[in-house]
Amino acid sequence: MVLNLTRSERQGAMIVAVLLSLVGLVMTLFGADGYFSTHGFIIMLAGMGTVFLVGRGYDAPEPSDERLAHYYDDPVKAGVILAMFWAVFAMFVGDWVAWLLAYPDMTFDAAWASFGRLRPVHTTGVIFGFGGNALIATSFYVMQRTCRARLPDQLSPWFVILGYNLFCILSVSGYFMGITQSKEYAEAEWYADIWLVVVWVVYFLLYLRTLQRRNEPHIYVANWYYLAFIVVVAMLHIVNNLALPVSWFGAKSYTIYSGVQDAMIQWWYGHNAVAFFLTSGFLGMMYYFLPKRANRPIFSYRLSIISFWGITFSYIWVGSHHLHYTALPHWVQTLGVTFSIILLVPSWASAGNALLTLNGAWDKVRDDATLRFMMVAAVFYGLTTFEGSFMAIRPVNSLSHYTDWTVAHVHAGTLGWVSMISYGAFYAMVPWIWKQKKMFSPRLVEVHFWLSVAGTFIYVFAMWNSGIIQGLMWRTYNDVGTLSYSFIDSMVAMHPYYIARAFGGFLFLLGACVGLYNIWKTMKVRTPAMVSDPSRPLPVAGVAAGSVEAGE
């Protein structure tokens, strides 16, 4: 990877790496507590590792200008591999957590392995580690193709992808140690949050710079979604994480918000993390890879405009549906329900747009597991958003809130939609970027598909059942007018469902392992480069066109 960098890019990388090592060193030496020093040490290691890596190739000859005739896909490759590693790791933790709820002593008497610490490791690992890397990798791929422009430089994409993973490592290692802000999906402490802001600004600028270089007059739909993902996540992240550290050399901080305002800001963040991380970004993915793989144009351009702005505008209002019947003022709850229901329209418009794009290509869906992954993802997207709008209605939420029904909804969305669309996109993109005709083993793609579908169904049905039973048991009165069930009764009733869920999760995890293996093998195949990337070539004048992929 270093060999492809120019001299000045290597210098830049060196400077960044040295600075990072120094920051890490200072944090290690002056840390007010062991936590902070440990994180300083991790940062220092990351910096020094990079120094070493760049140093080794520093004096190698510069790459020839011929590289400018190709899209720059090295960071995409790194992102795909990182995403798959995070998937396996974090789903393993997810399944462990699932077993813990059935057999609570399946742990050591160690603090780091207790449920409360592992759960954020799972959520952060899957959402940010797996999902985030998948989004960044595919966005680099998609923005170059749809702009027909190469990334403006080769250093900043590496900074984004590696810096982002440093953030993920800091967060996750922190949760094991007990460093947390306790804000769901934003548990990382203040210094990690600041680092993410730096990475994110570079990411945003990289996106804009690529857009400015585009050789297409219009910005393609997929990029609207990736842009919304980048811009709005930045807004959410900064506002929600405003905090005052106890010491500038210590890990602990206190959020500046308290009580009801904190709750509203947390769920404004929380639900829009769902919206702009787990929805917008992945819709961007869908809008590129699904039509590409099906080899059909998007069904309706106008529908995509309506759904894009519908989603971007309405989602921001719905956070308060997490706080029904609480101490949050009633008027805010009402706004939350109203927009949650409105939101169903653009959501289904997106899902419908995707499915109608497949119209006429159903034979392909039947034969091609990759396309089937994307089709099933669109179906689950439709299902989850329908369920979400339903759960946002106050009387329904009075039953579902606090129960496993929420967990069912979450995993219908994350397993059925987020993971499946990512797998579909990866299986389409991996052969293209590694210049292969197809995946190492299409049969294993098929195996992965069925493991994922089976795992998702078992998981979601188990949690629907347990959630509804739980909710009903909590509110059932007997003839005398007192509550029929103690809390413990409801807890005991969950046991069989928790085992079923853990089993379903295991299948899904197994699928991820199969996927990682298959991608790894594809990457290692050493056949002569195949011309398989279906994207249009870069319009670079004066360079032999033979090395560039075939046009559409």
Binding site: T180, L211, G259, F313, I316, W317, A327, L335, Y402, F487
Partner: protein, 247 residues
């Protein structure tokens, strides 16, 4: 409309600005008034702050992720009020940075836990929940008993919270470490100042059963015993309403 969009999607910066505007409106309309409208948070004179020991316990509650299984927000539904007590008011988490309302009840709500069980029950339960509730799926927290409580930096914690609006006095800030020790060791001199600064109703006693040292268990139990006890406002509100008509 589509014609306009046709033009908009040729301009990267314009598009970004449009996204920012579209995605800001909802948040501004819903959040800004929460800071300005009076009555969003009830005005209650008897609302008290956490003592340093309780605050340390709260931080351990956060560190261990208890909030992942326990809510602290009783909704205004009759079955919840019957099961857990008067529904939660905004003022009760007024000094909570961050709030711990929670979103999942793998275990029961804890908003009105204070005084429900003895200290000894809590210590045994936290050490191994299955000693007292055989079917429980809650993790064990044995290390709380083994780990001495870190109190040296408590002044810094109170000082930051004071900056954020929690009414800690300078005296409370200065004495935070010794107040934390004193609250869990009533025989020591440090205990004297705790009641003076935080009120006579403060629980001053050995929480973990071991008077010779202050452990993280002391802090967590002290925190659990104060849940729902910072103000009586919720009970007063319930008495004022017709019983049973809680929704």
């Amino acid at each position: 409309m589509f014609g306009f969009h046709y033009k908009l999607e040729r301009k990267a910066i314009g598009f970004v600005i449009a996204i920012i505007i579209a995605a800001s409106i909802g948040g501004i309309v819903e959040i800004a008034p929460l800071f300005t409208i009076e009555g969003t948070v009830e005005d209650v004179p008897d609302m008290r702050v956490y003592t340093p020991l309780e605050l340390a316990g709260r931080n351990i509650y956060v560190r261990e992720g208890c909030y992942a299984c326990h809510s602290q927000m009783i909704r205004s539904l009759s079955d919840e009020v019957e099961r857990y007590g008067p529904y939660s008011l905004a003022v009760e988490s007024k000094y909570d940075h961050p709030m711990l309302w929670g979103s999942k009840r793998t275990g029961p709500d804890l908003a009105r836990l204070g005084d429900k069980y003895s200290d000894e029950w809590h210590v045994r339960h936290l050490n191994n929940p299955r000693d007292v509730v055989p079917e429980s799926v809650m993790p064990r927290y044995g290390w709380l008993l083994r780990t001495p409580l870190k109190v040296e930096d408590m002044s810094g914690h109170l000082a930051v919270l004071a900056k954020l609006g929690v009414p800690y006095s300078q005296e409370m800030i200065d004495n935070a470490p010794s107040d934390a020790i004193g609250q869990a060791q009533p025989d020591r001199d440090e205990a004297g100042g705790v009641a003076e600064r935080y009120g006579d109703a403060t629980n001053i006693r050995v929480f973990d059963g071991n008077p010779s040292r202050v452990t993280e268990m002391d802090a967590v139990v002290a925190y659990l015993q104060i849940l729902g006890k910072l103000t009586d406002a919720a009970h007063r509100q319930q008495d004022a309403e017709i019983p049973g008509d809680a929704s």
